[in-house]
């Protein structure tokens, strides 16, 4: 099997999946608009309202982009929540409000994410440890190191860095633009490059990819590094938005499970090899619309959980039920 046939196979599959993101986006829009009209808050559909809605997608969207890569190669990353906390805390600790430290702090965080990604990827790809256990463990280790190191948060990011999270050129918040740009890059990598085609091949059929001469381990490793980088950018964004990181910011945001949920809702198969970033963006938009709509309706906090659980299941079931064969 040549690499070319693999990539063309992937394109066909990608085509068939196109409706899932669109369906999810339509659902999200429907829910949001209905909520706004039903509660008489039409101004939530204005530009400010919508940019507020998009703002809600940023943190989870950034994590989700990275998580998409991990899931596409048939792996998964549960350590993202702990990494987000670590990055956010590290960034505010290193900056201490000093603009001169912005670049070094960002670099340090990226290096940390790289290391975590390599470790995750190494445990999964080279050692063969199940990704759930491997990344659960690295997450525990990070969380522990973090709690041991940072018992209180005197640190804060530089005001100039914080401003980045609150700027809105042409009415669109800068973080939303960041998410859009990174999403385009991720889409380009997956859809238009050899590397992307190989990722799909590795996720869809690792044995076949191996026979075709691909170094499967390297792709799994790379996917984990990208997942960690996604979490890193999310952590930096949160640090900027919140002025300083707290060691529980990732855990309280449930970014690990929620990022997996949005990726799967967006049509990416947990078994790998199928899906893409467009679906992930649709998934995160659905979550954000739900959040905003629950707010408009004033849904009780516990009932929100119930509804969210039901919607996660329903959203995935809507198209999963068409699958042939068995799912576990």
């Amino acid at each position: 099997m040549s690499v070319d046939t693999l990539s063309s196979g992937r394109t066909r599959r990608g085509f068939r999946d196109l409706p899932v993101p669109l369906v999810v986006i339509a659902l999200a829009a429907f829910i949001y608009v209905t909520a706004a009209l039903a509660t008489g808050q039409a101004n939530q559909i204005s530009l400010t309202g919508l940019s507020g809605l998009l703002q809600r997608t940023v943190a989870l969207g950034l994590v989700g982009l990275g998580q998409t890569f991990a899931i596409l190669v048939g792996s998964i990353d549960l350590s993202v929540a702990a990494l987000i906390s670590t990055v956010a805390v590290l960034a505010s600790y290193l900056m201490q409000g000093d603009a001169g430290m912005i670049v070094p702090a960002i670099l340090a965080c990226l290096v940390l994410a790289l290391v975590v990604g390599v470790i995750n990827g190494g445990l999964v790809a080279c050692w063969g440890i199940n990704p759930l256990i491997a990344t659960l463990s690295t997450g525990l280790i990070l969380q522990g190191a973090l709690a041991a190191g940072f018992t209180y948060l005197g640190g804060r990011v530089a005001p100039e860095f914080q401003a980045l999270a609150y700027q809105a050129p042409f009415g669109v918040p800068l973080p939303v633009l960041l998410l859009a740009v990174l999403a385009i890059v991720a889409w380009f990598v997956l859809a238009k490059t050899r590397f992307g085609a190989h990722l799909y091949a590795v996720g869809g059929n690792p044995d076949g990819a191996k026979l075709a001469g691909l170094r499967v381990e390297r792709f799994v490793l790379a996917a984990h590094v990208i997942a960690s980088l996604g979490a890193c950018v999310a952590g930096l964004y949160l640090a900027a938005r919140l002025q300083s990181g707290t060691p529980w910011i990732g855990r309280d945001g449930v970014y690990d499970l929620e990022s997996i949920a949005i990726v799967v809702i967006g049509g990416t198969a947990l078994s790998g090899g199928k899906g893409g970033v467009l679906g992930t963006l649709a998934g995160v938009l659905l979550f954000a619309s739900l959040d905003a709509s629950f707010n408009m309706f004033g849904v009780d906090a516990f009932l929100k959980q119930v509804l969210r659980g039901a919607i996660v299941i329903a959203a995935v079931a809507v198209y999963a039920v068409r699958n042939k064969g068995h799912v576990a």
């Binding site: 808050q41 190191g149 018992t151 209180y152 309280d252």
Partner: protein
């Protein structure tokens, strides 16, 4: 290359330990809260949620507004029973004042800083609110959002503060040091020098809890009482009981249990029951189950509080501000009483659920006691 970066990250984490160790031990704040504990409250007798301990008043004439008001509240969440009771108190107060309130809009951030910022933003964008009440998830994180809100409408912050003076008032009881002082001084007064106390805590790193421990620790150190352990149990009863059993099994005598929150106090006591040991001196909190156990077993105990009646105050403040009446501020210190042997009986209400906080000040509110989960 990788080895280097791992080293760098490790070093960064290691350095931070020393950098942050001192933050929860602020002697000036400790002293201030100790004084506040014995300050006489000003305000209506028997209504501690309307009282204040010293401090100035702020003029609010510029916020005066006619008609019925829409009060907006951005809540950090209802992730523990303390916040559940508190939110009921706030809704009760709003129901009591329903003639003057158009609507009470509550957005729940589910404990997520990021969501709470968006919530505040959407409340401002919605344009309905006449006044904004915020109970922040974290102090630093919410500061920019609160600053943005202050430019548009009067803001009231309570429970946790923010790092800005822009809100009209910041409502809170005496505070974490006060909690630690009340509880530790009681334990120290009941035990001889050299006694052992075990500290049971919820989670590390949370400002409002760390200050409780830091105050208690310094009082124990001063009184020559050994803190034989400081354990985190995440409010989990099974874990609390297990931890206490482990300490009992070590064979060390435990003369007292100090807790930074009382929701698992009865679980800690059960460990002594199961081991066939006498009860220790204990500091819990104002939860019904602890108070009932205290009365039934004749414990030597105290229940300091971080009273949930503080959830009534923001509504009262909001209406006063919109009336243009001056309110205590920019800091509104509420009294922070403790339940003692003398006052114990008056706080017990058999109808209320186990984790009802007795200092809710909610007995006169509409819907009491059913809304608070009474049988």
């Amino acid at each position: 290359m990788h080895v280097k970066s791992i080293l760098a990250a490790t070093l960064a984490v290691a350095f931070s330990t020393t950098a942050y160790a001192q933050e929860f031990n602020d002697p000036a704040e400790f002293k201030k809260q100790r004084e506040l504990l014995s300050t006489k409250a000003e305000g209506p007798e028997g209504k501690p949620w309307e009282q204040h301990l010293g401090g100035a008043m702020v003029d609010t004439a510029k916020f005066k507004k006619d008609g019925k008001h829409t009060i907006c509240f951005s809540n950090a969440g209802v992730f523990n029973p303390w916040r559940v009771v508190g939110l009921n108190n706030m809704k009760g107060e709003a129901a009591l004042q329903k003639d003057r309130i158009q609507e009470l809009v509550i957005l729940d951030a589910e404990g997520k800083d990021d969501k709470q910022i968006s919530d505040i933003q959407s409340l401002l964008d919605g344009g309905k609110c006449d006044v904004l009440i915020v109970s922040p998830t974290t102090t630093a994180a919410l500061t920019p959002a609160v600053e943005a809100a202050c430019e548009k409408l009067p803001v009231i912050v309570f429970d946790r503060g923010v790092n800005t003076k822009c809100p009209v008032t910041y409502i809170h009881p005496v505070g974490g040091y006060g909690f630690g002082i009340t509880s530790a001084e009681f334990i120290a007064s009941k035990l001889p020098k050299g006694s052992n106390v075990l500290a049971i805590r919820i989670v590390p790193g949370v400002d409002v809890l760390e200050t409780r421990y830091s105050a208690a620790k310094s009082i124990f150190d001063e009184a020559g009482i050994n803190v034989i352990g400081s354990e985190f149990t995440g409010s989990d009863r099974a874990k609390t009981k297990s931890v206490v059993e482990d300490y009992i099994n070590r064979g060390q005598k435990i003369d007292a249990i100090w807790m930074d929150a009382g929701d698992t106090a009865t679980a800690a006591l059960e460990a002594f029951e199961d081991a066939g040991l006498p009860y220790p001196v204990i500091s819990g909190e104002d939860q019904q189950d602890f108070l009932r156990k205290w009365q039934k077993e004749n414990l030597v105990a105290i229940a300091p509080s971080y009273p949930t009646y503080q959830w009534r105050t923001p509504i009262i403040a909001a209406l006063d501000i919109l009336d243009g009446k001056s309110v205590p501020g920019p800091e509104w210190n509420l009294p922070q009483p403790a339940i003692t042997q003398e006052t114990l009986a008056s706080y017990i209400d058999e109808r209320m659920p186990a984790l009802h906080y007795s200092l809710c000040g909610c007995q006169d509110l509409p819907g009491y006691p059913e809304q608070w989960g009474a049988k």
